[in-house]
Symmetry: C2
Subunit: 342 residues, 2 copies
């Protein structure tokens, strides 16, 4: 593997030339891409071998792997290779942080269709590189394969647990409060704008959030430093569906209070509140914490960090949302608008 | 992300139902698939969270990632989901072994097209499970995504270096001998048989080798135990092209002696010797070693292990093949027949 490889079977005569081109260009490519494999004292052997070798200290490590597939997770009409590269790193960093760990290393498999130029691939790597520098994580190698169909990128990442104990979805306890970072629905609203023809306009904060969902590292660090939580996950499919998953893993339920959910005013104004509850791709952090930590949360907020306390963990299974005293019935948790409130 | 997730954008109305089905079925699926995440003392948290958590001792670890893409690396006409699952583990184990490490953990991303049934996915997981048991490695999680196009499987794997020093392609030294395990060309001949209509026949050893290329772990262990080598790689694209890569990394060249290359008699008889030199997918181990280790190699062979000494490392760059005193001109290294000898 490791860029030089191209184990391609010769089933299809019409693929000969593509294969030939790929093989040659992959060898060229690896020379160019090696510069993205930045040096680090702990990396004994990086890009260019059957595998990478790293020196690890004793401890707990987190392993994650997450893919973005064209036409499923994104359209190139609404983003570009640079941002896809960044996002592939971000979504994995987001998973690493959610476990209470700091990212260290990653590998990447690219599935590259014929229509891709090597310049596209290089641009994508520049995005990977940019995001990896932001999070001090190192590219160690991976695999580049041609595909007959759509583009995909699959990143695996290793992180080291830095929280006192690793975080888990299964660690929420009845009576705890539920917190969330940042604003919800921004990314989904960005996609909404793009789909409604805003692609040509300069990217606003929502479109940028959709294309480049940088995980909220600084606020995460505050949460870790202050030992706020040990039940955390990132919101990727939408607040309700992801919270429900956390509650299921913890054998608990949740009550949410609509007024407390950080919904951007523009979404309320446009009747798109549902995007904040079930739009997905927020990559904000969802966590629970004991009530006696509420004062610490307040102090973190006073430093300027966006954290909202949106509900509480209860014994009864399921996630219920309240608008004042009135319960809102959610038609579905992730894919449809939620009934009466719009 | 971890099986439960399905960050699917809603671009395509006609995808709604597929997405709905996937989401539900992925939740079902994870319950069924969790049993494949076998317990181990070092796994603090396995399948079911944003990431897996493992306890690692201080030491050197190897990270690899390698994908199999339908229509590029294989056709379902010539194999089945069970074998594809096995092979995805094998090719990564092969890379881990090539670095002087034992496999420990792996994650897997599946790209699943609509036409796949959940039974197919389960069968594939059974293959993953079978292979992982053979090599005492543990599935920790990963990602399942739907694709509009072809099937793919991408495995990342972590191993621990057990050799005195990790192996590298860059460690061959001028004057050393070149060894290879097993027979070459078996897998390519198996594919040749399949392409020529033998799919219906019971699988012979060649077809089995193609569909299920188990890495030669026992002979690898002998090589490690006896400190034979520190320059190793697996043959995935073909002997010549892979050896050339190793020589390039080591800034050396190689002379190979055709008579010593382990070519199955049936390939010679059928004029298909080229499959042994450049057919690819052998997943045998290629390594170099100092001449004074030749006696140890002989003792390992006497135990019944298949190892051939096929050439020597020389100063002059490039790989040259000799048939007796006569040099054979290779038209290409990986994809075409080699000129005069057939």
């Amino acid at each position: 593997m490791y860029y030089e490889k191209c184990r391609l079977e010769r089933f299809f005569i019409n693929w000969y030339d593509v294969i030939r081109t790929m093989e040659l260009s992959e060898n060229e490519l690896i020379r160019k891409l090696r510069r993205f494999g930045r040096k680090s004292g702990s990396i004994a052997r990086g890009i260019g071998d059957d595998g990478a070798v790293v020196d690890l200290k004793q401890g707990q490590y987190v392993l994650v792997q997450d893919a973005l597939v064209e036409h499923i997770h994104f359209e190139f009409a609404f983003t570009n290779p640079f941002n896809v590269g960044k996002k592939a790193v971000y979504v994995n960093v987001s998973d690493i942080l959610s476990m209470g760990a700091e990212p260290l290393y990653f590998l990447v498999t690219l599935g590259v269709p014929e229509r891709f130029s090597y310049r596209d691939v290089q641009t994508l790597y520049k995005g990977l590189d940019r995001a990896s520098r932001e999070f001090h994580t190192h590219l160690l190698g991976g695999d580049t394969v041609s595909t007959k169909g759509d583009f995909f990128i699959d990143v695996s990442m290793v992180g080291k647990v830095v929280a006192v104990k690793y975080f888990g979805r299964n660690k929420a306890r009845q009576g705890e409060l539920i917190g969330v970072t940042g604003y919800l629905g921004e990314s989904a609203y960005g996609l909404h704008l793009l789909k409604n023809g805003s692609a040509a306009r300069p990217a606003n904060r929502y479109i940028r959030r959709y294309q480049s969902p940088r995980p909220p590292y600084d606020v995460w660090k505050e949460l870790v430093k202050n030992g706020i939580t040990d039940a955390m996950m990132d919101i990727s499919d939408g607040l309700i569906i992801d919270l429900e998953r956390m509650m299921t893993e913890s054998k608990t339920g949740a009550h949410l209070f609509l007024d407390n959910i950080p919904i951007p005013p523009i979404l309320k104004k446009q009747g798109l509140r549902t995007l904040a509850l079930s739009g997905g791709e927020d990559y904000q952090l969802l966590f629970t914490f004991p009530r006696d930590k509420a004062a610490v949360i307040e102090r973190i907020r006073e430093k300027g960090f966006a954290i909202s306390i949106i509900g509480e963990v209860v014994r009864q299974r399921g996630v219920r949302v309240f608008d004042g005293d009135r319960e809102i019935k959610l038609k579905t948790k992730g894919y449809e608008h939620f009934g009466t409130t719009q």
